[in-house]
């Protein structure tokens, strides 16, 4: 029996893997110690557990355990990396390069830098959602200290050419930070092979608990340091004060270990379901995939159904299927997704988009149900859509002067 509702919003967060929860529970009750308590067994146990998790996390990304700074999540990691580098390398320059499709945690942090005297270049992306490497290189100046480009996009799943980007950063002696929240645990990410200097990621996007993440900070070639953004006990090599979230970190470690073991198998199964979902939905007229299909995470699909509004579409099945829309009709701004707009999509197509995020626990049966429910709702709403009627009559919608704008 198919159990409803179906969860297809795994880019927002993932359910915890039961194996992760199992690993965590002893650290709430029996082994509740503070990892910084050096003089009794409770502290020793906690420290040992954190050390082990640090190894599990480091292993997944090809890092040394000493290069892992535990944080509260990727937003903190983004802030710590960008602001921390900006402060630490102030004598070298004040220029940061990023892209318009970054997560708000990066964009707003960059805006903050601009307010305090920093200079930021926001690179445009092409219709596929990818930056132009020549533009990136041309944007580098003597004052550039950091390039901040995400590994994979949260809305469209597009994977950036990180290796090529890091080669450019290296060539010019600029540090590379990447927000890899959507990528780590889903596709192979290796800080050595990829040439990454700093990288933020989060446990709850990879079947771990919420409220814990990590910032990778390179220790060799080059040795990178960030200025702490919180004052306190000097935890995490002085870069991130605050009592460690031991159960969360243990869960994060376990989630990384499982991701490493299951990645190949998961990817095969999930991408097959994603491709099937996409193929079937694209059989509807005027349905388009947003962003590159070639350079993309295996579990993500972002599709626009022309002449149907995304939120109205969601309402047709959101009791039974959990999805996101690029339509921001619910937000006060009424602005559709800035990521989709950056791809050059018109507001109409951006308003008409759905984001599918499949995951480890998605089943074929759920996908069949979703295909049917969405196809039916799209057809029903198109019958109700004046734009669809005009389109069918051969009217060019761009020639109409819309009132009440």
């Amino acid at each position: 029996m198919l159990k409803l509702p179906i969860y297809l919003d795994n880019n927002a967060t993932t359910p915890m893997d039961p194996r992760v929860l199992e690993a965590m529970t002893p650290y709430f009750l029996e082994h509740f110690g503070n990892a910084a308590s050096r003089n009794h067994p409770f502290g020793w146990e906690a420290e040992e557990a954190v050390d082990y998790a640090r190894e599990q996390v480091a292993k997944l990304i090809g890092a040394d355990p000493k290069e892992i700074i535990f944080t509260s999540g990727a937003t903190e990691g983004d802030n710590l990396a960008i602001k921390g580098v900006y402060e630490m390398y102030a004598s070298k320059g004040n220029h940061v390069i990023t892209a318009t499709t970054e997560h708000k945690a990066v964009l707003d942090t960059c805006k903050h830098l601009e307010k305090i005297g920093g200079e930021v270049t926001y690179l445009q992306v092409n219709a596929e959602g990818l930056i132009d490497l020549k533009e990136l290189e041309a944007a580098i100046k003597p004052t550039t200290i950091l390039i901040s480009i995400m590994y994979a996009n949260n809305e469209i799943g597009v994977v950036m050419p990180i290796k090529e980007i890091s080669a450019i950063a290296r060539k010019h002696g600029v540090l590379l930070f990447t927000d890899a929240t959507q990528a780590v645990g889903k596709i192979p990410v290796d800080v050595q092979k990829d040439g990454i200097d700093l990288m933020a990621f989060s446990a709850h996007k990879m079947y771990g608990p919420k409220g814990v993440g990590a910032l990778y900070v390179r220790r060799k070639n080059p040795r990178v340091k960030v200025t702490a953004q919180m004052d306190g006990g000097g935890h995490e090599r002085g870069m991130r004060s605050g009592t460690l979230n031991v159960p969360g970190i243990v869960g994060f470690g376990k989630a990384c270990e499982i991701a490493m073991l299951d990645m190949e198998e998961d990817t095969k199964r999930i991408s097959k379901m994603r491709d099937h979902l996409e193929t079937e939905l694209l059989k509807l007229e005027e349905a388009y995939v947003n962003g590159s299909r070639e350079h993309r995470l295996p579990h993500v699909a972002n599709i626009s159904f022309k002449h149907v509004e995304g939120e109205g579409l969601l309402m047709g099945f959101n009791k039974n299927i959990a999805l996101s829309s690029g339509s921001a009709c619910t937000s006060a701004s009424l602005e559709p997704s800035y990521v989709l707009k950056a791809l050059g999509l018109g507001d109409d197509l951006a308003h008409s988009s759905l984001r599918f995020g499949l995951g480890r626990f998605t089943t074929d049966e759920q996908i069949e149900y979703t295909i049917k429910a969405i196809s039916e709702t799209v057809l029903k709403l198109r019958e109700m859509s004046p734009l669809w009627e005009m389109y069918k009559e051969g009217i060019d919608l761009s020639t109409i002067e819309w009132a009440a704008h």
Binding site: H307, V308, E309, G310, E311, G312, M315, G316, S327, C329, T330, S331, A332, L334, P336, G346, D347, D348, H351, E383, M384, S385, P386, L387, W388, E389, L397, W402, A403, A404, H405
Partner: protein, 138 residues
Amino acid sequence: MAYSEKVIDHYQNPKNVGTLDKAAKNVGTGLVGAPECGDVMRLQIEVDDAGLITDAKFKTFGCGSAIASSSLATEWLKGKTVDQALKVDNMDFVEELNLPPVKIHCSVLAEDAIKAAINDYRAKNGLETIKFEESVVH
């Protein structure tokens, strides 16, 4: 965001979806909103010689609240005279459908659609169009 029962009901069972002959002299058509804003409403009324609205149809591109507002508008319009229809206010939709503040623009759009349809009908029948205060949508 949770929708009110009435919005859900109109969304699931919309009343009077369809198209009237926009070339007919006794049909007034109002097309308001814009695709870029995520809302387009088309409201049509059919008026008899006595000035009574005998039929109303809509098609809407938009969220559930926009669909519900236009569906409700067609229900309200049928059986009203054109003059009575002019008195329908956007707040009537807000109250009837329990629209939250973020969805008030849907009700404004519905009011605008009614006025636009009436003006189209008036223009076709040699009557002067009514100048409305510019409503602030979006």
